[in-house]
Each structure stands twice: as C-alpha cells, then as structure tokens.
Symmetry: C2
Subunit: 260 residues, 2 copies
DNA sequence: TATTGTGAATGCATTCACAGCC
DNA sequence: GGCTGTGAATGCATTCACAATA
C-alpha cells in the first residue's frame, strides 16, 4: 500500500517509541540567499567536487558555456544522479531543461572548497619524491604555492629547489610560523615522519598530506590525508587475485553470493 | 519490547510484504577449513588490511609474537571493533583472551591480498615523479618489481633508470605483453594519459595506478586507482575553510546541525 | 579474566524515480 | 521535451555490546 518506489521494496516502517527529539531530519532547506554557505557536505562529495572542478575548467577552456549533468558526469566518471546530488549541496545553480552554467559552477565549487584563499605549502623531505613535489611549480592550478622546503641532509641546506632554498628540519616550527604555512607535505622516510609531523604541528600547520608509510598521530584539530603507494598497489593486487579466482572456477563459495 | 541495544533505539521493524527470496543474509558461515577463501570482502576493509599488514610487519621485526586487537588497532589508527570485524573477513585466526599471532595474521593477510604472487610493474612517464617511482627500488616490500619503463622523450630512450632501460611509449603493448606486466603506473602529463592507458590495456595490463589528473576510460575488466595530488590538496583546503568558518561564528546554519 | 567474533543497530552514501520547472 | 533537484529507498560501512571461549 505504502510501498511504491524501488524494485524490491519492503515497506520499512519506523515505530520509534521515544520520538527522539535530537535533530533528526535537517528539514530546513536553508532560508534563502544566505551568503556564507556551510551546511554539512558529505566527505565523499567533497572529493568529487574537486574532480568536477577540473573537468569544468577544461570545458571552459574549450569554450563551453553550459553543460548538462549527463555530459559532466560522464566526463567525471560518475553517474548523473550522483553528480546532481553532489551539486545540490552547493545550492541550486542549474536551470531545468537546460543544464548548468560552467562559469557559475566553477565559481561555486571554488568557493565551497575554500579555493578563494591561498594555502601556503611546505614540503619536508627533498628526496626523489620531494623533488618532484617541489617542482610541481606552485602546485595544481595556483592557490597552493610552495613556500618552504626542509630536509636533514646538510648538503641540501641552502640549495634552492624550484626557486626555494632548503631549510633544516629543526627550523620547521619557526619557518612555518613565520611564513604562515597551512599545509605540510611529508615526503620523508617513515622513521622521520612522526617527528617531522610534530614539528609541523607546533609550527601551526593545520593540514598534513602524508606520503610516508606510517600512521601519523596528531592532535584533533589537525587534518591528515595519506597517500600510500604500497597500499594502492596491494589493493590492486587483491583485485588481480580476485579476478584470477573468478576465472578458474576454484571458488565454490558456500552461499550464493558472487564475488564480484 | 524488541528494542534492547543502542542508546537511542527506535525499534525499527521490517514488514516486508513480499518476502524477497533473493539472497538476503548470506547466513552460511562457510563450511569450515575451505582452502581457497574468496567470500566478498568490503572494499574499505581491503584498504585497511594493507595498513594492518605493515604495522604487523613492523611489530614482527621488533620481536612481537602476539598482539591484541586493542594494541594493533591503535597502531593502525582505527578502533578495535573495526579491526576485529576486518580480520573476521579472513576467518577466525585469533585466540579469545589472548589475541592474534602476528605471523599467522601476516600470512593470512598476504594470502588474501594476493601478495604470494609477484606483480610486475611498468612505469610510464619518466619525469620527476616517474623517476621517483622507478627508484623506489622494486617497490614496497618486494612483490612489485618494476620491470619496464616508458617515455616519449628520445633523449631518455635506452637510458637506464634504476637499472632498467627506458623504452618508447609506442612499444608499450609489445613490451608489456612480453614481460608479463600486470600493473601499469601512469605518471605522464594529463594529455598523454589516456593514450598511454589504452596501450597498457592492449598490452594485457589488468590494473592501472593513475597519477595523471584525468579520469581514464577503461574496459570493464581493468581496475583503475587514482592518486590525485590536486584533489588531496583541495580536500584539505575545504577543511581549512570549514574550520575557519567554525571559529568566527559566521555560519549560523538554519537547522541545529553542527558542521563538524 | 581478558579478548575475540559477530549479530544487530546505527549512520553514511548511492541510486531510483518523479515532481517541478524552464 | 528535457533536465534539474530531491525525497525516499536501497545498499554499504561502522559501531555497539555481549555471548562464546581460551
């Protein structure tokens, strides 16, 4: 009776005896033209917004002025419903029957991601990877200028890499505070990573991008993201193995569940 | 009456009129000592298994023989319930009241992740990043030997990097097929990435790790993972912005929802 | 007693499908 | 007619909390 949508729908009913008064259903669709949008955006959506932004920028360069969700989502490698939901977190910036204005969307995503400010970056560990990072030349799409480099190696101190002289890791707190670094990139060997991280934090760095294969311990107010080559490869390895198992029929799993 | 667990529990009841016959509840706890484990392991858990593996290896090196979920989970940066659930996907290899044997766990995780096989790696694009990757020296913890390098630059062709001579990107299909490459790493500029990817695929590569800031289009049977510096930085930027908004009270959100 | 293993509950994320609008 | 915006539904992932057990 109640059931309508969905293919196999099981009329799930909430009885909820104690009518929980704690904020269930945000409900409020936001009073209107509020300037400072915050509203909780799902973490997963944030990551995709960055992808949409790049695709949109490319489209803008090629002269596109409007784009439909179907087209944009295909280029971004997601389905259109997901794209529309993601964009809806920013507000209503599309036109029904038409699509989105590329420039408007670019502006809104940039604002949401905080790309209107600049975020100064420090790279610690000027080995192969650190070198590569330092030379990225101001980092993707402007907005992330590299303003400090650090290493332990005495031979490197003072040597400019990508225009910036390398400082000693002991000076991390001082230099970071002075230059107002907000993002620290850890590209050191694993053994050094935690101590480097601690120094970055004491230098006032709020966010850390960690390439070292260790789990960094940080105070609550610091955000860490990890890029881990070994983990990525091992995940791929898992999928190779899974696929191999599928091919030869050697995985008669008890239940009906297919592995894919 | 039915409600027991959970702090604010709302006795959610399924009425489910049409008693869906499609595999609900896998139920079968796996007949017993099945050798070829497959069972569907959640993607998110797979990623964490790789982390546990590293932590366990470090512990083993320091002479630990057993470890409790509490200790291991702390070192891996997750909570203990999650750890135990993740490990339970492998089977029951712990001892109640004691913990897990480090060596046993290492072995089981390696088997599950397919790390008993070797996975030959090719790196395409020998720029700053490619160089860094090629020099990783056989890649993390053995098991991922780099066996081919490619670039377009005529000056690089034939030059050995990390012991392996660079080949031309045109030879990707041939060389990859010959050497049995199973993982391709794309470290080229974005414009070249898709064509490189296509050649890797036609060379029989099953998995691709993509460092180029583009969404690669691949056939269904190929697995792609993406490492995107710009996206990572922009996610961090979002959190900086969010945090800044929290500080000054400028985000009177309509509903009660706190942003954190 | 200490700690695993795991159903059940909660909480996110994705997808569906259609009303609303241009 | 076409496309957005979004409730509602489904499906994953995480967490709780306790029975099982060495």
């Amino acid at each position: 009776m109640v059931a309508r949508r969905g293919r196999r729908n099981g009329a799930r009913v909430d009885i909820d005896a104690d009518n929980a008064p704690t904020a269930e259903m945000p409900a409020v669709t936001d009073g209107g033209a509020d300037p400072v949008r915050v509203k909780s955006i799902p973490e997963a959506a944030v990551a995709r917004l960055a992808v949409y932004l790049r695709v949109l920028s490319a489209m803008a360069e090629q002269g596109a002025t409007t784009v439909a969700s179907e087209e944009l989502s295909a280029a971004a490698g997601v389905n259109s419903a997901k794209l529309r939901k993601d964009l809806s977190y920013l507000g209503s910036y599309g036109t029904r029957g038409v699509g989105y204005e590329v420039q408007v969307l670019v502006g809104q995503i940039e604002r949401t991601l905080g790309l209107t400010r600049q975020h100064k970056v420090a790279v610690v560990g000027i080995g192969n990877l650190g070198h590569a990072l330092a030379n990225y030349g101001g980092f993707p799409g402007r907005g992330f200028p590299v303003e400090a480099l650090f290493d332990v190696d005495a031979d490197l101190i003072g040597v400019p890499v990508g225009g910036i002289p390398v400082s000693h890791v002991d000076d991390i707190p001082k230099v970071c505070a002075e230059r107002g670094i907000s993002i620290g990139v850890v590209a050191t060997p694993p053994t050094a990573a935690q101590s480097v991280c601690d120094r970055l934090v004491s230098g006032g760095v709020q966010c850390i991008l960690n390439f070292a294969p260790v789990v960094l311990q940080v105070p609550e107010h610091v955000e860490v993201r990890k890029v881990d080559l070994a983990v990525e490869l091992q995940i791929l390895s898992f999928h190779v193995a899974r696929r191999a198992d599928e091919k030869n029929g050697s995985h008669k799993v008890g239940n009906g569940m297919v592995v894919r």
